[in-house]
């Protein structure tokens, strides 16, 4: 099964990096959709099927938390697993994200392996997918080239 993945981040470079990490993680990707804020992400969700969402919090127009609230308030979209990739590290906001049902979060700065591991866990829980056996870095060369 190939997964349609939506990445919401106002940084185009960050979206490119996340895309690279997901690809290198060995996750079979059908469509890779990109949005620069929560509003754009909601629009894309009206037009396309999405299996998993990776979202930033600090975005203009509609933040990741507002986006998460909108998702969880929608009967059609509430079951899509959401992973937050964010600089946000306040315990209060992370607790709120958990209450809203976020599948997990990765704090920036991140190691690519952290995203791979969490994505594997989330896809396994949501879709019974076996984690990828592909290591992000081969052998002793642990230098990611992004």
């Amino acid at each position: 099964m190939a997964f349609n993945i939506l990445v919401a981040d106002d940084s185009e470079t960050m979206r490119a990096v996340v895309k690279k990490v997901v690809t290198m993680a060995g996750v079979p990707v059908g469509q890779f959709l990109e949005a620069s804020n929560g509003r754009e992400a909601l629009q894309l969700l009206e037009e396309s099927w999405v299996d998993v969402i990776l979202s930033d919090i600090n975005m203009p127009e509609m933040s990741g938390m507002e986006f998460l609230r909108a998702l969880k308030g929608s009967p059609e979209l509430r079951n899509i697993p959401v992973i937050l990739i964010t600089t946000e590290s306040s315990q209060a906001r992370m607790a709120e994200a958990q209450r809203l049902g976020v599948a997990g979060y990765v704090r920036k700065p991140f190691q690519p392996e952290t995203i791979k591991k969490l994505l594997d866990e989330v896809l396994a829980a949501a879709y019974d997918r076996e984690p990828s056996a592909v290591p992000l870095a081969g052998g002793d060369d642990d230098g990611m080239d992004f």
């Binding site: 940084s11 470079t13 203009p60 590290s89 209060a92 906001r93």
Partner: protein, 156 residues
Amino acid sequence: MDNRMRNLLSETAAQVFETMYYIFFSRLHSLPADLDWATRHRYVKAVVSFTGKGGGALTLFMPVPLARMVTTNFLGIDRSEVSEQQIQDTCREAANMVGGGFLGQIDPEGEYVLGIPVVTPVADILQEPAVDDRDHQCVFKTEHGLLIIHLAMPEG
């Protein structure tokens, strides 16, 4: 800025630059007296403001060669392929990560709310008030010039 804050800010910046950009730096006590650092390169500044508890702003001043190297390493592309837009975007993200990481440590309750970072070229680094405000800045030496981080927030 007291030593605790200074150390937290330095550690956060080091973590961001080392983990995401493979840029390693050493800390300096202050800006060098020799102004070669200011005249040798053009600079860009990335400012991220925050609200709550009186609010404030964190500013990163980066020489263009450092900004370019950070972007190159982040995207994993050739130096010659890096666009101005990508440099600005990466500098914004750097300010976002340093600001978010720092505030998360001093404010676990999440009263501070980070704004959207803004990047602008600096016409003359020596005319920037934040560069003159040495009590509220951290200075780092990299292979690609000096990184200056200024923190403006109410004391206490």
